[in-house]
């Protein structure tokens, strides 16, 4: 069910007409909620950048600005108890999953109240209760993990599925291909979503990957390849629903390529010399939030006032998250030795003998 004809041209696949039965029509409040989530991510990331400039956030920080429709759109067609796993550009997916902005911002600031207790940082958000499996810093490293989570979902007959996101640059890590093969061979309900934002750091897709569209790589494994327009959340939803249907009804994996644009630098220290400001302007002209906002205005789902209220609500929510993070304590020094080993329940605790130190 390869949905691309001329390589590179994005086309709707047969089953993805707007009235696709796979996709229940959204109620107004659901549409409103999706728009709000996108706005929340956008504002959260703006705050992240400010906190980074103040050096409250350290190390690497990769913001999701411009790609909001991907995380929110894909999330909107799966269930709460399905699993999500992604790479280091994970703030958007975490918020789309419904993780607490306070805990997320606190993690960025390395606080004990963070979603990973301040031990993971920007690249390593986790939330077991929300079935959010991270937040992974090694490019492509999460792809076999997503396979394993979906394997376990099938092993336990849960009829759940896993969304595993990766970047366009990550498709060139070998372990991803090993994972595609196993997913197809064993019929594992994992949906791999390539977020094609046109760049891997300073390297454009054309300079890093042979073959266009990227989903063509699914063909070799007789796996479904689906391309979606990541600037249009409804297209994201329609195309993702196809993949979800395959996973849910036939336990089949899919490879999706959702095209968007990374508005900001790769990380906070990237001057973006490898692309023109004109290119950026053109891309921003098809902003996913603006497009969807306009659609909801046209549909009279919201009016300008609703939108302003929404923006105001989001602004204070993000400010609260930031204040919460700033006012939260660092972990205690001694906690450096916590969370290494899980308590044993089926055998006696394993003696670690700290008194005989391995080093001073």
């Amino acid at each position: 069910m390869h949905t691309v004809d001329t390589p590179g041209r994005i086309t709707a696949s047969p089953t993805s007409a707007p009235d696709a039965p796979l996709l229940p029509v959204l109620k107004p409040d659901e549409k409103h909620a999706m728009l709000r989530k996108m706005v929340l991510i956008r504002r959260f990331e703006e705050k992240s950048e400010q906190a980074y400039q103040k050096q409250q956030i350290r190390g690497f920080c990769h913001v999701y600005t411009g790609q909001e429709a991907i995380a929110v759109g894909t999330e909107s067609v799966i269930n709460r108890d399905d699993a999500v796993i992604t790479a280091y550009r994970d703030h958007g997916h975490a918020l789309a999953r419904g993780m607490c902005p306070k805990a997320c911002m606190a993690e960025l600031l390395g606080k004990a109240t963070g979603c990973s207790k301040g031990k993971g940082g920007s690249m390593h958000f986790f939330d077991k209760k929300k079935h959010f499996y991270g937040g992974h810093g090694i490019v492509g490293g999460q792809t076999p993990l997503g396979l394993g989570i979906a394997f376990a979902q099938k092993y336990t007959n849960s009829n759940r599925l896993t969304l595993c996101y990766l970047g366009d640059g990550a498709i060139n890590q070998g372990v991803f291909h090993e994972s595609l093969n196993i997913a197809a061979l064993w019929k594992i309900p994992v949906i791999y979503i390539i977020e094609n934002n046109l760049y891997a750091m300073g390297t454009s897709v054309a300079r890093s990957s042979a073959g266009d569209p990227l989903v063509k790589r699914a063909d070799g494994y007789d796996m479904a390849g689906i391309v979606a327009n990541g600037m249009d959340i409804d297209d994201v939803r329609i195309k993702t629903a196809e993949a979800v249907n395959l996973a849910r009804t036939e336990s089949l994996p899919s490879l999706m390529e959702i095209r968007a644009y990374r508005y900001r630098g790769h990380s906070m220290t990237d001057p973006r010399k490898y692309r023109t400001r004109e290119e950026e302007e053109q891309q921003r002209a098809r902003d996913p939030i603006e497009i969807y906002k306009q659609r909801l205005l046209d549909e009279n789902v919201i009016n300008e006032k609703d939108y302003e209220d929404m923006e105001a609500g989001v602004a204070s929510e993000v400010q609260e998250a930031y204040d919460f993070a700033v006012n939260s304590p660092d972990p205690e020094i001694e906690e450096v030795f916590d969370d290494i080993f899980a308590p044993e329940t089926q055998i006696d605790e394993i003696e670690r003998r700290p008194k005989w130190s391995y080093g001073d």
């Binding site: 699993a83 796993i85 963070g114 979603c115 990973s116 207790k117 301040g118 031990k119 993971g120 390593h124 986790f126 939330d127 077991k128 499996y133 991270g134 937040g135 992974h136 810093g137 090694i138 490293g141 792809t143 076999p144 993990l145 997503g146 396979l147 394993g148 989570i149 979906a150 394997f151 376990a152 979902q153 092993y155 336990t156 070998g174 372990v175 090993e178 994972s179 093969n181 196993i182 061979l185 916590d338 969370d339 290494i340 080993f341 899980a342 308590p343 044993e344 329940t345 089926q346 055998i347 006696d348 394993i350 003696e351 670690r352 003998r353 005989w356 130190s357 391995y358």
Partner: protein, 324 residues
């Protein structure tokens, strides 16, 4: 007590734990229909079926990561590497995922995972197939490294490893698979992280693991003829290191030879030697000497490989130097 081979002991351990807990499953190359390249998984497919005994493509990176992911979800995977040398293509998955995920998540996830297979030299399979990776994996804070030398420990430790809620590196040695010895019947669990004195002696302490434990025992018998009484400590678990037992033994003998198959530079024996001089400085009457593999790649030629591997002769020679 029944006398069984170390291979059978491992097979029983896996079978018993799979009986006990249906979340336990085995995956790896040729583990199912072929009954295992080294027959450790013999009969398990028939017993438990293809859902729980799974042949994989030759994709160590992906199936290791798969196991880590499944473990975070709540399953208890056992991964077989045809040999540990092939774990090198999965190194990132083992170290950065199995080894770091729980910590990076602030302790939210458990990773009940056993990675196992054989390792080591003496098989004439050359430089790429003869690695002994225990030192690399023991360097990772969250990983526990087990290297059994006898059937009873192999069974008891593997059962404990499968029941552990943490990722375990379980390194076997192919030249020991046919080694037969008594193994207690029924429920037999060996504690992880405890060494064992395999031979008591008063003059010198040999500290070894896996196949090197047998080299040390052989050397001890030879030395006995010349009136030297060597104690042989089989570490069984490399990390966490049972320094309580090491200290107790060294305090009695005041002389130490370490026998390991690691290539010498920063092998596990260097760590043990460091700790002995660090924590027991005044107990030592002579330097700790390590008998390790020579610092060269593994040659195919048998004479050369035997020369490269630690041998009972070299242990005897080292012991005499330490006691001189």
């Amino acid at each position: 007590m029944p006398i069984i081979s170390l291979r059978t002991a491992l097979n029983q351990a896996i079978a018993e734990e799979m009986e006990r807990d249906e979340n336990v499953f085995l995956l790896g190359e040729e583990v199912a229909e072929y009954n295992g390249a080294y027959k450790v998984s013999e009969g398990l497919l028939d017993k438990f079926g293809p859902k729980r005994v799974i042949d994989t493509p030759i994709s160590e990176g992906a199936f290791t990561g798969l196991a880590v992911g499944a473990a975070t979800y709540g399953l208890r995977p056992i991964v077989e590497y045809m040999t540990w040398s092939f774990s090198l293509v999965a190194f990132d998955q083992i170290i950065n995922n199995a080894g770091q995920v729980r910590y990076m998540a602030g302790g939210q996830f458990e990773v009940p995972l056993v990675l196992r297979g054989n390792s080591g030299g003496g098989l004439r399979v050359g430089a790429t197939h003869s690695h002994t990776p225990e030192n690399w994996y023991a360097n990772i804070p969250a990983l526990t490294v087990i290297t059994p030398a006898f059937p009873d420990d192999a069974k008891g430790l593997l059962k404990s490893a499968i029941r552990s809620n943490n990722p375990i590196i379980f390194i076997e040695n192919e030249i020991l698979y046919n080694y037969k010895d008594e193994v207690p019947e029924g429920e037999h669990l060996t504690p992880i992280g405890k060494a064992r004195i395999r031979r008591e002696g008063k003059d010198i302490t040999f500290i070894a693991n896996s196949a090197s434990t047998h080299r040390a025992l052989e050397a001890a018998e030879t030395l006995a003829k010349s009136g030297i009484d060597a104690e042989v400590v089989d570490l069984r678990t490399i990390k966490p290191l049972d320094f309580d037992l090491i200290a107790e033994s060294v305090r009695r003998t005041n002389h130490v030879v370490i026998v390991e198959e690691n290539k010498p530079f920063a092998g596990w024996g260097a760590q043990v030697a460091y700790m002995i001089q660090r924590h027991l400085f005044d107990e030592l009457d002579a330097p700790v000497i390590r008998v390790a593999s020579l610092d060269a790649p593994q040659p195919y030629n048998a004479k050369l490989e035997d020369y490269l591997l630690p041998s009972a002769d070299r242990v005897v020679k080292a012991a005499k130097e330490v006691l001189a």
